[in-house]
């Protein structure tokens, strides 16, 4: 057991006890069958368990079970959604796609690849709080798009896009609307019907489920089919071939049921965590909060100390586990593309760390975190001559 307190829930979450129990049971011999081998009861049992799990996912987002396709996680779901739409069109028919600079790399990189292949791709800037302004979306939708893709909650700063509004704007113009809900699913209510969502990427490990499993919602009425990324089997209506990982799927379903039951209380708890953190760090000179006080998911806080270096700040905070920017980019020296698009300068970006809270975060732990942060700030400022 590591002797650090975990504050990196936006990166991943610990698997909930209930999820482990369900996954453990699924790993017993009763569910050893391949869900595609329906010639005997082992396969049938696995298939039935998977269909029940599919129902749990669908229920959380108000979708039909047939609209849920299992994937390995939100990265694959994003890739499948974007390539799947573009490649389903006849060859040589370029599509017009737009997204934003604040997206996860698993949206930005496929879009750049599609652009190289001849599709028209545009990225819009967020406002200074990190979310998309309806006016800039309206402007880009007016250019006659085929597909618009954006995230619901930003993984680095917690900003929340108004997907209900964007969905209605897209539906009005018959534009396919893809939402990357990796950070919001199970934490904020999402209704694909009410929000006019056509495609939505889902993750399990961000809400106390296992890693390596996710799903893609595909609206049957508006999208129907996508070109698969892989071939070699007819699973998932041939859109995502491969033997299904029964225990992972059951774990994801358990996490989604838990999320549905706890969402309201979780949100209240995370708001209290955020408020306490902000209250206890209010006296740190020069500390900037990136993002907005509204349109923000309370579980993620991005802070900048422009006079300090984030990497050494993390090193100095030896009792807590937080991250520099986002986990996806913390191995790289490249400045965060999200913070850059919000207009932050290099020094502000270099001095940014992300704190994220979860269901298990205790208020006492936040006190330890803020004490540790203050101690680290004092040490690093002393090293640079107290300036």
């Amino acid at each position: 057991m590591k002797n650090k307190i975990y504050f990196d829930y936006a990166s991943t979450t610990p698997i909930a006890k209930e999820v482990k129990q369900d996954m453990g049971a699924a790993l017993e011999d009763d569910l050893l069958g391949n869900a595609s081998s329906l010639d005997h009861e082992f396969g049938v049992d696995a298939s039935q368990a998977i269909e029940l799990a599919r129902q749990d996912i669908a229920e959380l987002i108000n979708a039909e079970t047939a609209e849920i396709i299992w994937t390995s996680g939100a990265t694959e779901s994003n890739n499948l959604a974007l390539y799947g739409v573009c490649n389903f069109k006849p060859q040589g028919q370029p599509l017009s796609i737009a997204s934003s600079y604040t997206e996860h790399k698993s949206v930005i990189e496929p879009l750049m690849e599609l652009q190289r292949k001849g599709h028209r791709v545009e990225f819009i800037e967020p406002n200074k709080y990190g979310y998309l302004d309806p006016a800039s979306i309206a402007k880009i939708l007016d250019r006659g798009l085929d597909l618009f893709s954006c995230m619901h909650v930003n993984n680095e700063i917690g900003s929340v896009n108004d997907i209900a509004l964007i969905g209605s704007m897209c539906r009005e113009k018959n534009i396919i609307f893809h939402v990357d809900a990796a950070q919001s699913i199970g934490k904020l209510p999402v209704d694909v019907e009410q929000n006019n969502i056509d495609l939505m990427s889902l993750s399990a490990h961000k809400i106390y489920g296992p890693k390596g499993i996710g799903a893609l919602f595909i609206n049957q009425r508006t999208v129907g089919r996508l070109q698969p990324l892989m071939s070699g089997g007819g699973q998932e209506r041939a859109m995502r071939p491969g033997t299904l990982a029964t225990h992972q799927i059951i774990g994801m379903a358990a996490a989604y049921r838990l999320a549905k039951a706890n969402m309201e209380n979780d949100l209240i708890h995370l708001t209290k965590c955020r408020d306490l953190f902000l209250q206890l760090t209010g006296d740190i000179e020069g500390l900037m909060i990136n993002g907005d006080t509204h349109n923000t998911f309370p579980g993620i806080i991005s802070i900048s100390l422009p006079d300090l270096h984030a990497e050494s700040l993390l090193f100095a905070m030896d009792k807590v586990a937080i991250s520099k920017g986002s986990a996806c980019s913390s191995e790289s020296d490249e400045p965060s593309h999200v913070l850059k698009s919000m207009g932050l300068g290099r020094e502000e970006i270099e001095g940014t760390v992300r704190v994220s809270f979860g269901r298990n975060t205790r208020f006492k732990e936040i006190e330890v975190l803020t004490q540790s942060l203050k101690k680290a700030v004092d040490h690093l400022r002393l090293l640079k001559g107290g300036i």
């Binding site: 006079d307 300090l308 270096h309 990497e311 050494s312 090193f315 100095a316 030896d318 020296d333 290099r346 020094e347 270099e350 040490h379 690093l380 002393l382 090293l383 640079k384 001559g385 107290g386």
Partner: protein, 123 residues
């Protein structure tokens, strides 16, 4: 025998040779360097003839730069300032197990030291 991570931590948190407000900076021969990632190092040396009798530093950067600066400063007291030009920076690499993608931090040290020697030579 301390492990490289222990040495890294100890050097990172060691503030014995950090220049503090009560130190009279103008008594020292200073040298500095910086890079595009907003990291910088400043050395302050007091010499008698050319022997370093006291050394201080200020630093902003990653934990490796901080630790390297601290270890380097500790190791140069009582040395001749002109010997610093031949300092074996690679000895610090193994001491803290400096990752390959962080070895450019050594250039900052080296440039700040060269700047110090230049200032010393110019009196």
């Amino acid at each position: 025998m301390s492990s490289s991570i222990e040495i890294l931590k100890e050097a990172f948190f060691d503030t014995d040779h950090v220049l503090i407000a009560t130190d009279e900076a103008d008594q020292y021969t200073a040298g500095c360097s910086d890079n595009a990632q907003n990291m910088w190092v400043k050395f302050y040396l007091i010499t008698s003839n050319s022997k370093i009798i006291d050394a201080k530093y200020e630093v902003k950067g990653c934990q490796y730069l901080v630790a390297l600066t601290s270890l380097f400063t500790n190791s140069i007291i009582n040395q001749d300032i002109f010997c610093l030009a031949d300092f074996d920076y690679q000895s610090l690499v193994s001491l803290i197990d400096l990752p390959k993608n962080r070895q450019d931090r050594l250039f900052l040290l080296e440039d700040a030291v060269k700047d110090c020697i230049n200032h010393f030579e110019r009196g």
